[in-house]
Amino acid sequence: MNIPMANLLPFPPGAPGAAPRLFDLRRQIGRLERGAGAGIPAVVPLGVDAIDGHLPFRGLPLKRLHAVVAAGEREAGAATGFLLSLAIRVMQAEPGPVLWCGRHPELYAPALADYGLDPGRLILVRARSEVDRLWAFEEGLRTKGLAVAVAELEKPLDLAGSRRLQLAAERGTTGFALRLDGGDAAASAVETRWRIASASSVAPAEDAHGVGNPRWQVTLERCRGGRPGHWLMEKNDATGDLSLAPSLRDRPDLPARARVAG
């Protein structure tokens, strides 16, 4: 292999940029080892430094099982929105369609297109029983050639079941288990688990009473090899970018600055 020697020299501790370059190297190695199962996974960054830096590999590991849980039965919209933001980032890195299994997926394609997800890449699977949904999900996770597999689940994944799915994902496709009903997520072998609640938006400049960019309370409840975390995030509807939002409400001048500082 032809890596310039300079890149392999150890950085003096605390040297600026040392940590990111180390992560880059780890990521490169991870890419090389992809398919070998364990080892350092390939990742996609969320584009929010505070969160990417918090995650052990500076991004969301690909070909792993992740869980997104709505913090309450009325947070289905927020949980879906957050998951879509993650899925879009995976779809930029991985070619192929997206398999979305649900009892009755209510996805609305014109809005997804606006959100930045190409509906032409969607394969929707309708399955009434949880058993069928899990089966379809697992089949999707095993399949090379999909970008993402998503399952809307109504029961918590048990340890054995989630291990199985995680193993399937390692050989195939990045997976998201989505819980929309606010139900509890039992301990499971997922790579990351995110709990999502809505947060009040900031009025857009043109309409003081209007609805602004979506904001979410994002709790990283579980992260293999990492620590839990909590952030207030905002998604820029115009650009699709994610950023940290200041926790103070209704201060229209802050979000943009927060992104630069974040």
Partner: protein, 473 residues
């Protein structure tokens, strides 16, 4: 009276007579109500069953207009071309056919000849009560010549007129000058004669199109359990794959038919998103459904047919091999999902140019993206759209034209803190007139975003009704 059995015919009764007249002559006549629809259905089922012998089986629909056909008007043809050797020759095949039909509870006469017309005539008018009539190709014309002109599938009035003219046998007709006969009885006379003699072609109208590729397995002792049937299916897939491979084709729709000893036919069909000829892929889909076939008293023949076969692209550029493999895996995934959950349960989404939000997308076959879709997005739309808007209670708007300040949904009150101006959606004018529809994107005090719909306008005297139609990210 519509139809008579052999005994009734021997007593001199004939179709068309009234039951009262017949009873006067034969007091203990057994009469059953005719069920034309049921008969037709039974005949169709029989034609379906007859495909166990050959891919083309056709119903004889014209006999209804022909006089004197014994045992009702029922008849069917099987195109046995190239199939008889599978049964040990034509005579053996005919005997097997007759034997089985009788076991199913029908009486039948079977004739095998070079043309559908000759077979029809021989089956009905040749002297051979037992066994099967097999017309020796050399002697077929002579044999036909001695039959009654009724054997030509002519209308009853034509047959009786010919009889009166002394043209009783087919040979009489063949020898008579043709032009005057055609002038009097129509072109049908010449056509039927030529068809019977094989001078012109008569294609059969099969009950369904013969599959391009078909392979069969026979189990003389029958098989009764699903595992054996699965083994048989696998063997059939391998064979069919061989034929498909030689033709450079793949199957899009595959059917496995299991012919049972009692005449029932169990069928399962599976579809593929792309033409397939890998036997394992075919088998994987069939295997999931084999349990749907009830072997009953035992399956004696299994036939695998490629109902739809399409050319496959044979060239594989090495550069694209990985991409192609990934695409194949996805196609195979879609087939498996559709196989287990049903074809309508796996789909993609395509745009429709409609400004009614619920009509702006439709389902379509997955992976069917030939070109890039154009999705019109003028305004904010919810990422989740409820199939049916859910009615809201206790809705309060400060002014008639305002968004709701609060609403109750699924038993809980939400206070609205932010709302976008109303978006008015006029109904498509060619549809029935509905109340004006307005949409609001609102946010409650916890930041949840909803798409709220208002039907009707206060200023027009309507009482507006409110519902929740979607959820935003």
């Amino acid at each position: 009276m519509v139809a008579l059995d052999r005994n009734a015919t021997l007593l001199g009764l004939s179709p068309g007579e009234s039951v009262a007249d017949a009873r006067a002559r034969v007091p203990d006549l057994h009469v059953a109500t005719s069920d034309a629809v049921g008969d037709a259905r039974a005949l169709e089922a029989l034609a379906d069953w007859a495909q166990r012998y050959a891919p083309i089986a056709a119903l004889d629909r014209q006999s209804a207009t022909v006089s004197g056909s014994i045992g009702g008007d029922a008849g069917l043809w099987i195109d046995a071309t190239g199939c008889a050797h599978l049964f040990g020759g034509e005579e053996a095949m005919g005997l097997d056919l007759r034997h089985r039909i009788e076991k199913l509870g029908f009486s039948a006469r079977v004739a095998i000849a070079g043309t559908p017309g000759a077979a029809w005539a021989l089956a009905r008018y040749a002297e051979a009560a037992e066994g099967v009539i097999v017309a020796d190709p050399e002697a077929e014309r002579e044999r036909l010549a001695s039959l009654s002109v009724a054997g030509l599938r002519l209308p009853a009035v034509v047959v009786s007129a010919l009889m009166r003219l002394g043209l009783k046998r087919i040979e009489d007709l063949a020898a008579a000058p043709r032009a005057p006969l055609v002038a009097r009885f129509g072109e049908v006379l010449a056509r039927r004669l030529d068809q019977a003699l094989g001078l012109i072609e008569e294609p059969l109208a099969p009950v369904r199109a013969a599959p391009a590729f078909r392979t069969r397995l026979v189990f003389p002792d029958g098989i009764g359990n699903p595992e054996d049937l699965a083994l048989a299916a696998h063997r059939l897939c391998e064979r069919l794959s061989g034929s498909l491979d030689r033709a450079q084709k793949g199957v899009r729709k595959l059917e496995l038919a299991a012919y049972r000893f009692d005449g029932e036919v169990g069928k399962i069909a599976v579809g593929f998103g792309r033409p397939v000829r890998d036997p394992d892929r075919m088998f994987r889909l069939l295997r999931d459904r084999i349990a749907q076939i009830d072997p009953g008293p035992g399956v004696e023949v299994a036939i695998l047919s490629a109902l739809i076969a399409e050319p496959t692209i044979a060239v594989q550029t090495p550069l694209l091999a990985e991409t192609r493999e990934a695409g194949d895996e996805v196609a195979s995934l879609v087939d498996r999902l559709a196989g287990r959950l049903g074809e309508t349960s796996v789909h993609g989404l395509a745009p429709i140019d409609s400004h009614l939000p619920e009509r702006a997308q439709r389902r379509r076959a997955p992976l069917a993206t030939a070109k890039k879709d154009v999705w019109r997005t003028q305004r904010r739309r919810p990422q989740r759209l409820l199939d049916r808007p859910e009615p809201l209670e206790d809705t309060l708007a400060l002014l008639p034209d305002h968004p709701p300040a609060r609403f109750r949904w699924r038993g809980r009150t939400h206070r609205v803190t932010r709302a976008d101006p109303a978006e008015r959606i006029a109904d498509e004018w060619w549809r029935e007139q509905k109340p004006t529809r307005d949409y609001f994107r609102v946010e409650d005090e916890d930041g949840r975003r909803f798409w709220i719909r208002r039907d009707g306008l206060t200023e027009k005297g309507d009482t507006p009704s409110w519902s929740l139609h979607g959820l935003f990210a």
